[in-house]
């Protein structure tokens, strides 16, 4: 699990985005226990308060939860993870279609293009 940050945007937002991605991709498996806030912060080389803020946001999204004495866990709610994955895929696809459109491809041409690309593989 490697976090990469650029300094131009709030670090906690980037943490949330990257954790989201690790969870939907399964790199952070559902139900798994997270390190303590401090250990996690040290591992990512970020400020503990920033990590705390990111985890609070992920908790609000439902992607992680706190067990009072045991720490924080990734949600076991597979439907929720799936929902986030779909949202992710949708964003990617929409962005891709927009870019292709900017290159002058219609939606049909883009689909045709993808099909041909697939066959060449």
């Amino acid at each position: 699990m490697d976090f990469v940050f650029d300094n131009d945007r709030p670090i906690y937002i980037q943490l949330v985005e990257q954790m989201e991605k690790f969870i939907v991709s399964g790199e952070l498996a559902s139900g798994v226990r997270l390190p303590s806030v401090r250990d996690f912060a040290v591992r990512c080389r970020v400020n503990p308060n920033t990590m705390q803020r990111a985890l609070a946001e992920l908790e609000e999204l439902g992607l992680i939860y706190t067990e009072r004495t045991n720490g924080k866990f990734v949600t076991s709610d597979e439907d929720l993870i799936k929902k986030f994955r779909e949202k992710y895929a949708e964003n990617k696809a929409v962005n891709f279609l927009t870019e292709m459109e900017e290159l002058g491809y219609t939606k049909e041409e883009t689909l045709e293009y993808l099909k041909n690309l697939n066959q060449e593989d």
Partner: protein, 231 residues
């Protein structure tokens, strides 16, 4: 929860006003970047907080009490220039710290040194400049202080080793402790900062949470600093 408070703090050297009307509160549990060009007043402010200089005007409170003997016990300070006796061995430097500071954690310090492959028997004079700086930082961070003040801890350390230093800071900083780090090498450390203070010509011109500033300006602290001071 005010750990440090500066009230109308000014310091002049003759006609030269090094600091002008500084009002500043640093709560517990924050990592604060004190950022400014050379000569902006960073070191003067730090020396005042450490009671090494006397203010021309105003006052400095630590835990709501004026700085003095008591505040020295809770502040762990890494000065810009080394004060260590280079004929000592690493082990002797540790013993010295143990003697001077009640809150010095000898075992933790030894463990950190081992992790970074620093030999206890080695003479400080035999170490490279970067290694000496690392040793000093480890000593300073091995105290269980309430406030750590690091004056330009990165200057002599090569870029590859800077990450080590960030790790050391993050690993050793107690939950309620605060840390002030002064530097002009902003991009290397901005990721670990809660708050940033921009200081220029003896005045504080900005004091803000780092992420809020990034959000507002859509830029890194480093970029914002450069833009503001055209450097």
């Amino acid at each position: 929860m005010e750990l440090l408070k500066c009230v109308d703090l000014s310091k002049s050297y003759g006609d030269d006003e090094a600091l002008k009307d500084i009002n500043l509160v640093i709560p517990k549990g924050r990592i604060v970047g004190l950022l400014g060009k050379n000569g902006a007043g960073k070191t003067t402010l730090i020396k005042l907080i450490n009671d090494l200089l006397t203010p021309t005007k105003g006052e400095i409170l630590i835990n709501e009490r004026p700085v003095g003997v008591e505040s020295k016990k809770v502040i762990s300070y890494l000065p810009e220039r080394s004060y260590m006796n280079k004929s000592m061995s690493v082990k002797e430097a540790l013993s010295m710290f143990k003697e001077f500071y009640e809150d010095f954690d000898y075992e933790k310090c030894k463990k950190t040194l081992k992790k970074l492959d620093l030999d206890m028997e080695m003479k400080i004079s035999k170490m490279s400049k970067g290694m000496q700086e690392k040793l000093q930082l480890i000593l300073v961070m091995s105290r269980r202080a309430e406030l750590y003040i690091l004056d330009e801890p990165l200057a002599g350390v090569d870029p590859a080793a800077r990450e080590n230093i960030l790790d050391m800071i993050l690993t050793n900083l107690g939950e309620d402790a605060s840390l002030i780090i002064s530097t002009h090498l902003i991009s290397d450390i901005e990721r670990i900062l809660d708050d940033v203070i921009f200081i220029n010509e003896g005045r504080i011109i900005l004091y803000s949470p780092a992420d809020e500033l990034r959000n507002r300006e859509n830029a890194s602290i480093d970029d914002i600093f450069r833009r503001m001071f055209k450097c």
